[in-house]
């Protein structure tokens, strides 16, 4: 039996003037499958919606075409109408006779409008319903890393009723020994105690991830600890593996007097110098102009040294990175307290003279060369991804930004999200973060995971994108191009491997369907035959 198509024209309150609707209606009514053609003036208003719902029900329509405005503006409204009338929302096709027809042409455009409707009818006849199905998900979360961000994420997730495993490769939790903790004087012992006392948080030290498989809701992870491997399932994974720093141009002959930021904060805290330094130098922002943290660390350390020792302090720098909260204030405070900022276009030369570190630079404001002998020089540092990031990212199949930090630099990714659903990043491992941004990350990741896993099940479109096991030749092309890691090979019929697309992980971007050489992948709504049928409708004989 022929599929029953209902067509609804809308003249947009009379704003579509150059279409002869009577003629268009007559012509469309003759097309195969069309059981009813209606003209309305305001389908998207409440009264229009009601008229449409009752027409769909009364005339037992099986497919609907709306000829009116842009689907970008109103498609969701018409999909809602279909659902209200008891039809699957994917059985709708829109013909844009307003923005793409009436409003862009002068003169009568009835013929073009009818063509657009004919295309939509040909497509709608081939559309298939897509149902939504719920899948159970694990309410356990793996947090890789044990710094300030990692522990806070675990605690916040425990408040949402989710269990977490905090996994650290080293023998102890890292939160206490981090540079940010030292710079800000954050007391990590209380948070470590809180984590250890929390029954929803399990701590695994000296443990590593060996293999990882599966998808959001059910990642399978093999963890090795003390020579023993265990296999566990997690609904989501949070990477909080921090960063590392590397000194630029250490000036080998100057030896122990050239130190890192971290070493300098330790010196400040433990007073481990034989005598107090009279002059301290800092170098900032020449080799790496894209990091915020070195500015923060320098300002905090310079102020602390000024306060503790009353030393003369010189900061050689190109640009201070003041684009984080409170940093301009801190910069002002440092200048007010007598810290001297020497602005240069090029990095100063570092040498040694009479046992002290010699720094030669140029002050662009004074227009003079400057030679400084200092007791301690805090070297410029590069802010880099933590070791092991590369191996981990290939294990997880997630991309890094051009500097090698986790998380692709894609603006459409929310701050803590990755292109793979269920994998999140927090803190220094996704780029250098100041405390404000890190705190937002921590709460953000807890929110995202709470939404995803709290209910223990997730709803997703069922087989909206599907690979046909009969046609698939397991060439792996789709697996390589899928940006969301949603496709894997599964074994069917004892020896045949075929691609299988996870409904939960799929983002319905359609890339796999476009590249499949065997045309085995069908993306409902955009299948080849649906596109070809539209072209067929306007082919002139």
């Amino acid at each position: 039996m022929e599929t029953k198509v209902g067509v609804f024209f809308c003249n947009c309150g009379g704003a579509i003037k150059n279409i002869d609707f009577d003629a268009a209606l007559r012509e469309v009514a003759r097309l195969p499958g069309v059981i009813s053609v209606n003209l309305d003036s305001s389908l998207c208003l409440e009264e229009g919606k009601e008229r449409m719902v009752s027409s769909i029900r009364d005339e037992k329509m099986e497919r609907v075409v709306v000829a009116g405005c842009s689907p970008l503006l109103k498609e969701h409204i018409f999909q809602g109408i279909l659902e209200k009338a008891g039809l699957n929302k994917h059985l709708l096709s829109m013909a844009n006779i307003r923005e793409q027809c009436s409003w862009v042409h002068d003169g009568d455009v009835t013929a073009k409008a009818v063509d657009l409707v004919r295309m939509a009818i040909n497509r709608v006849l081939l559309l298939q319903p897509v149902e939504t199905k719920e899948t159970a998900v694990s309410k356990e979360v793996l947090v890789a890393g044990s710094g300030f961000a990692a522990l806070n994420v675990a605690l916040q997730l425990s408040h949402l009723g989710l269990r977490t495993t905090v996994m650290e490769e080293g023998p102890v939790l890292r939160a206490g020994s981090e540079e940010p903790a030292a710079v800000y004087g954050v007391d990590a012992s209380s948070i470590i105690a809180e984590v250890e006392a929390n029954e929803n948080v399990e701590v695994l030290t000296s443990a590593r991830v060996m293999t990882l498989e599966g998808k959001v809701g059910g990642f399978g992870v093999r963890i090795k600890k003390a020579g023993k491997e265990t296999f566990r399932r997690y609904g989501a994974i949070v990477l909080a593996t921090g960063h590392r720093t590397e000194i630029v141009n250490p000036g080998a002959e100057a030896g122990a007097s050239v130190v890192s930021q971290k070493a300098f904060t330790d010196i400040l805290r433990n007073s481990s110098l034989e005598r107090e330094p009279r002059t301290v130098g800092f170098i900032l922002d020449f080799s790496d102009e894209n990091s915020r943290f070195p500015t923060l660390a320098t300002l905090n350390s310079a102020l602390a040294a000024k306060k503790k020792w009353g030393s003369e302090i010189y900061v050689f720098y190109k640009s201070v990175k003041v684009d984080s909260e409170g940093v301009e204030r801190l910069y002002q405070q440092a200048r007010d307290s007598g810290v001297v900022f020497v602005k240069s276009e090029t990095a100063p030369k570092i040498g040694v003279e009479d046992g002290r570190v010699k720094v030669e630079g140029r002050d662009v404001f004074a227009g003079e060369d400057l030679v400084l002998a200092c007791d301690v020089l805090v070297a410029e540092e590069l802010y880099l991804p933590a070791e092991g990031t590369e191996t981990f990212s290939s294990l997880l199949n997630v991309r890094t930004d051009p500097k090698g930090f986790w998380q692709d630099d894609n603006v459409h990714l929310y701050p803590v999200g990755s292109e793979k659903k269920g994998i999140f990043f927090v803190g220094g491992c996704r780029g250098d973060l100041d405390p404000g941004r890190m705190l937002a990350d921590i709460s953000g990741v807890a929110m995202n995971i709470g939404e995803l896993l709290s209910a223990g099940k997730v709803a997703a479109d069922f087989e909206r994108v599907k690979a046909d096991p009969q046609k698939c030749v397991a060439c792996l092309t789709c697996i390589r191009v899928c940006p969301h890691g949603a496709i894997q090979l599964v074994r069917v019929e004892s020896s045949k491997d075929v691609a299988q697309i996870s409904d939960l992980a799929c983002d319905a971007c359609g890339v796999c369907a476009a590249v499949c050489p065997a045309k085995a992948i069908a993306f409902q709504g955009y299948r080849d035959e649906e596109i070809l049928a539209q072209i067929e409708a306007i082919k002139r004989s």
Binding site: C12, A15, E289, V364, P402, V411, M447, S454
Partner: protein
């Protein structure tokens, strides 16, 4: 007694929208309050700054999210609305809201455009909103409308096919019962007229960064405001309304928007020369290093912020600046000068702070309770999201908005009547 499952989000810019969407996804009912007729705030009016590649300005993310928010069944959008009073406590707030008449009923307007066609004023008093604004309902500018000014014009109302235009409307009040409030009222752009010597408002070819965003968003290309010709020599002046006496902070967005806009200008017209005057360049941030490499080749960077701009007899703009590398005052002529205006606290902050009982910080933004918790205010159950707490770019505003949603969720999850005594 059941937990209150409603949250009020005040302000529908990108951070308010991020909060609202997260909460709605978590099953919470959200009232999204907006004082203007349109949803989306500042960021919805920004232009795409892509050249042959995406420059990652994030402007496109906003329109997606705005659409998602206004179509979400759990989010009730209240446009033209402001808060009059807040009573109660965390978990059980009563909020009195005033809805002013907008004259165009968003639920009836079908955006057919017939009203604009008949409107007799120039520019038109009733017009379509800017491209990314939603709901896609027309807006009536009560400063231009003859009817509102007291004349007898009724042309748009009689032309409207759906009866969406109503003039005899009064302000309405309603009361909302919510468990938590998220304040996401955003910022005001620094008024460049306050720096009189830079000539904004006096010389038409001195524009602000926001003006330039709107020019590109509306026209797609850059022309001189005076004669419509293509500018060949353009200067950007950084830190206008940031990092000075009255603004002890960096606005965080201007260096990057200036470089991205400069990149766009150079892409459209490779012969154009662009100079950026700056104090310290803010080039940190995800993925920015790769763009900065290119901008360094394409743009002339001059250290120092000009203090004066004068228009010459031929209409060019003479910029007087301290040439630090040569140690003297220099002058240079440009056809167009863009003032990279910063983020200032919203002008109504003080009123809202008083109504909600929350504190303002020294710089005029809303204050946080504790430096290690940047969403929480001194009032339990009232949280901050986005630039009302301090300058942020689009991704940071989204991040802060999600974090605020997370804090609000924790209030809703608390058992009622316990643990709230303090």
């Amino acid at each position: 007694m059941e937990n209150n499952n409603n949250v009020l989000v005040v302000g529908s810019g990108i951070s308010g929208i991020a909060s609202a969407l997260e909460l709605a996804n978590a099953g919470v009912n959200v009232y999204l309050l907006e004082k203007e007729a349109l949803v989306g705030g500042h960021s919805a009016s920004f232009c795409c700054k892509a050249t042959d590649i995406c420059s990652q300005c994030s402007a496109c993310v906003v329109s997606d999210k705005v659409k998602e928010a206004i179509t979400d069944p759990r989010i009730t959008v209240l446009t033209g609305s402001t808060i009059k009073r807040l009573r109660g406590e965390a978990g059980d707030f009563h909020v009195e809201v005033v809805r002013r008449p907008l004259y165009v009923n968003g639920e009836r307007c079908i955006a057919c455009g017939l009203c604009t066609g008949v409107c007799p004023t120039d520019p038109k008093a009733i017009h379509p909103p800017f491209a990314e604004a939603l709901p896609f309902s027309f807006v009536l500018d009560d400063g231009l409308c003859l009817r509102i000014k007291g004349e007898r014009c009724d042309l748009c109302r009689t032309s409207c096919p759906t009866g969406a235009i109503e003039f005899d409307l009064k302000a309405k009040e309603e009361e909302l019962n919510v468990g938590a409030v998220i304040v996401a009222t955003g910022f005001d752009v620094f008024d460049a007229r306050e720096k009189g010597s830079l000539g904004y408002g006096r010389y038409p070819n001195v524009v602000t960064g926001l003006d330039l965003e709107h020019i590109f968003a509306r026209e797609g290309y850059l022309r001189l405001p005076t004669d419509g010709s293509e500018p060949k020599n353009i200067a950007f002046i950084q830190c206008v309304g940031s990092r000075d006496e009255g603004h002890g902070y960096c606005s965080q967005v201007c260096c990057k928007y200036a470089m991205r806009l400069a990149g766009l200008i150079r892409y459209q017209n490779p012969d154009a020369r662009v100079t950026i005057f700056y104090i310290d360049l803010q080039t940190a941030g995800k993925g920015f290093a790769q763009f900065y490499e290119k901008y360094r080749q394409d743009i002339r960077f001059v250290r120092g912020v000009p203090v004066e701009i004068l228009q010459t007899a031929s209409g060019e703009l003479e910029v007087k600046f301290e040439d630090i590398s040569r140690g003297r005052v220099s002058r240079d002529n440009f056809d167009l000068v863009v003032l990279s205006v910063g983020i200032s606290p919203a002008k109504n902050s003080w009123d809202l702070a008083r109504i909600l009982g929350i504190n303002l910080a020294d710089d005029g933004f809303f204050d946080v309770k504790d430096p290690l918790s940047r969403n929480e205010t001194n009032v339990e159950g009232v949280f901050l999201a986005g630039t009302c707490q301090g300058p942020k770019d689009i991704p940071d505003s989204i991040g802060h908005g999600i974090a605020a949603a997370s804090k609000a969720m924790q209030v809703l999850a608390k058992p009622v009547g316990r643990g709230r005594a303090s």
